[in-house]
């Protein structure tokens, strides 16, 4: 079981982890660089550190710190996926609209993610390289239908032309906030019903309960 990590420290302040997953060369690194640094390199070469980036987003009254994690896309590292996406609040499943195979790869990722993270993470399927519309091989409606069928959102982008990126990250942020608030409601209700709020294991724990209770009821314990 995943341990819920502190994604909200105080009211309206959030910190989320988002992983980028997808086959090699679909544009994961480019997408991230374009969004965070507004840079695009046609030569697959950049000089700044581009594997982990943070970006602060203001959405109305909410402030979100996004940690965006790029992952190694080569096939031989596929098996490491679970280590990367562990504890993520959101995942962008990216494919290249001119590459059918990369779309099939997304389906594999989705199945894996849902098995590992259940409903705890927000998934968005992203069709990248929208600027290459004329070479498209993955049908847009097919992709939308697929996303719907797995309970994910669908977005199309171009890292090259900077299309749809701001929307994409705003969308995933607000979806993550929604999800987080929903789970807080649920856990709030269950913890009121259960006798122990901190998941203690039948009396074995590192918290002095007697002492705790005494303090809460205001009794002095000398």
């Amino acid at each position: 079981m995943e341990r819920a990590t502190t994604s909200a420290s105080s009211e309206g302040e959030f910190r989320f982890k988002v992983v980028l997953l997808g086959e090699g060369a679909v544009g994961k690194s480019s997408l991230m660089l374009r969004y965070v640094e507004d840079k695009f390199s046609p030569r697959h070469v950049s000089t700044i550190q581009a594997s982990f980036l943070s970006k602060r987003l203001d959405l109305g009254d909410n402030h979100v710190d996004l940690d965006i994690w790029d992952t190694a896309g080569q096939e031989k590292y596929h098996a490491l996926g679970p280590i990367y996406y562990r504890g993520s609040h959101g995942a962008l499943l990216i494919y290249d609209i001119t590459d059918k195979r990369s779309f099939e790869k997304v389906k594999i990722w989705v199945r894996e993610l849902q098995r590992a993270l259940g409903e705890t993470a927000v998934l968005i399927v992203v069709g990248n390289k929208l600027d290459l519309e004329s070479e498209r091989t993955v049908d847009r409606t097919e992709a939308i239908q697929y996303a719907k069928s797995v309970n994910a959102e669908y977005v199309e982008t171009s890292a090259k032309e900077n299309l749809g990126l701001a929307d994409l990250f705003e969308k995933i942020s607000s979806l993550m906030i929604d999800k987080w608030e929903k789970t807080r409601e649920i856990s709030g209700r269950t913890s009121q019903n259960s006798s122990s709020s901190n998941g203690s294991r039948r009396g074995i724990q590192l918290v002095d309960e007697q002492n705790d209770a005494a303090q809460r009821t205001g009794k002095c314990c000398k």
Partner: protein
């Protein structure tokens, strides 16, 4: 005489025959022939022997890192208590965890040390305690200091007392963090914007606990110790895997790249020095930054695809002792945000990935035939040497450096030689010029001049003689009573000549 000689020869032959028959066999009695260089073992037994020997070296080193006495204690602990699962501990003695005695003791003196149960504080622990208390006193009001101290010390005490599996312990510690975190979040003091953040308090708690419970929580069983050893062995068997096989974009020809990689290695190896989780993570973060430097200096992209292979390469080259234990310790007892978010979270995750990759590495992951992979791993064949293979090989690196120095020197020398030649030519040319424009000087001094000079010389001599004569004449005249008028020039020259 001749008979004894032939006897000796006979002996010798017998001896040799005997050696051939028996003593050349592998000393392990496996039936194969042994070789003296391999301690009279066959190649297979020699390899096994070497592996065992290296394992012993690793074992000894790891034991030093862990401190010997604690190690013995742990061995006993793990062999005695392997059958004690969490459940039957609870069944056996439910009171063990709510021991009213220890609770009241702690309650009686919230600031007292729970070391009364025979645990002497190490210097590390006592300085951590001082730092922890100082920080709290300096940043939060007294009631909060008391609450945090009391809860933390209770947890510390229980961690030492409970004899449970590491994963269960991890859950308890994480629950404790969560509980304390929630309590502090509800405290009015932290609702004030100007107050120090709850997270900072939690970080201090984690820092403190990671020092004072280190001996209990770090590499807690002999089984995990063995896990470290076999990882080290595994990595050693993969030492032939080079940056080339991992398809990194490192440019080993550049000294700056090699230097960054060396620094990354050093950082990676230093993970065993600190006890504090954040400091261990700091080693990992610095290691990763040096890797990015190496990529940048190789003019390679600094994306995840390039980074992970280099990190794997660093693990294979460094083979850090107790790496598995460090990773487990961090993932079990770190505050969630440290390993789930931020840079330290990202790099720690990548380290976990690299570790997993090394453990699972096979011919597929290196895109080679299975037989080839196995031949390399068993040491039957060596990878072809290349510039990329020996990047971190210091000898070769320094040789390369010397070679480039030599090349530079050679160039300089050639330049110098060229310049000298040019200078020589200029001098020759100038000589020629001088000769042609001042050729008349060849006839110097002329005959007339020489004759003239001779004449002058003779004249001078004559004049001198005359002068001398005059002087003598005057002297005599002076001795006589009457005098002739004085002649200055002659007189002043006179005495000098005498």
């Amino acid at each position: 005489m001749s008979t004894s000689e032939s006897d000796l020869l006979e002996e010798d032959r017998k001896l040799r025959v005997q050696i051939n028959e028996k003593d050349l066999l592998c000393i392990n009695g496996c039936g194969f022939y042994g070789t003296p260089q391999w301690g009279n073992r066959c190649s297979k037994c020699w390899r096994a022997h070497q592996i065992a020997e290296k394992r012993n070296i690793d074992y000894a080193r790891n034991r030093t890192l862990l401190a010997f006495d604690r190690f013995e204690e742990k061995r006993k602990l793990s062999s005695d208590s392997r059958s004690l699962t969490l459940r039957n501990i609870i069944k056996k003695s439910p009171s063990m965890f709510t021991s009213s005695e220890s609770t009241s003791e702690l309650r009686a003196s919230p600031n007292g040390t729970p070391s009364r149960h025979g645990r002497a504080l190490s210097p590390d622990s006592s300085s951590a305690r001082v730092a922890f208390t100082d920080w709290l006193v300096g940043n939060v009001p007294t009631p909060v200091v008391q609450e945090v101290t009391k809860m933390t010390k209770f947890a510390e005490h229980k961690i030492h007392e409970f004899d449970i599996a590491a994963d269960d312990m991890s859950e308890l510690v994480q629950n404790f963090y969560q509980h304390l975190n929630d309590r502090l979040n509800h405290n009015k003091f932290f609702q004030n914007q100007e107050s120090v953040e709850v997270q900072s308090v939690m970080e201090e708690v984690e820092r403190y606990l990671s020092v004072v419970t280190y001996n209990r929580l770090f590499c807690p069983t002999a089984d995990e110790e063995v896990g470290d050893l076999s990882l080290q062995e595994r990595i050693r068997s993969l030492n032939w895997v080079t940056a080339g096989f991992l398809e990194t974009k490192l440019d080993f020809k550049r000294a700056a790249v090699r230097d960054s990689l060396d620094e990354a290695l050093t950082e990676c190896l230093s993970i065993n020095s600190p006890r504090k989780i954040d400091e261990k993570l700091g080693c990992i973060v610095r290691c990763c930054h040096r890797i990015f430097d190496a990529l940048r200096n190789s003019a390679a992209p600094t994306s995840a695809d390039e980074f992970l292979p280099v990190l794997i390469y660093i693990l294979l080259k460094g083979n850090p002792p107790l790496l598995m234990s460090n990773v487990k310790y961090i993932s079990r007892y770190a505050l969630p945000h440290r390993i789930m978010s931020g840079e330290s979270g990202y790099f720690f995750t990548n380290l976990s990935c690299a570790l997993q990759f090394v453990q699972d590495m096979n011919h597929d992951s290196l895109k080679m035939a299975q037989t080839e992979f196995e031949a390399y791993t068993s040491g039957q064949i060596q990878p072809p040497p290349s510039a990329a293979n020996c990047g971190c090989n210091q000898a070769i690196a320094s040789m390369e450096q010397s070679l480039s120095h030599l090349e530079k020197l050679e160039l300089e020398q050639k330049k110098l030689a060229d310049e000298m030649e040019a200078l020589g030519k200029t001098v020759a040319k100038m000589e020629e010029e001088i000769e042609s424009s001042y050729g008349f000087l060849d006839d110097y001094p002329t005959k007339e001049l020489q004759d003239l000079l001779e004449k002058v010389d003779e004249e001078e001599k004559k004049t001198f003689q005359v002068c001398n004569l005059t002087a003598q004449f005057q002297k005599k005249k002076n001795e006589a009573p009457s005098q002739v008028p004085n002649n200055d020039a002659v007189e002043s020259q006179g005495p000098k000549e005498q």
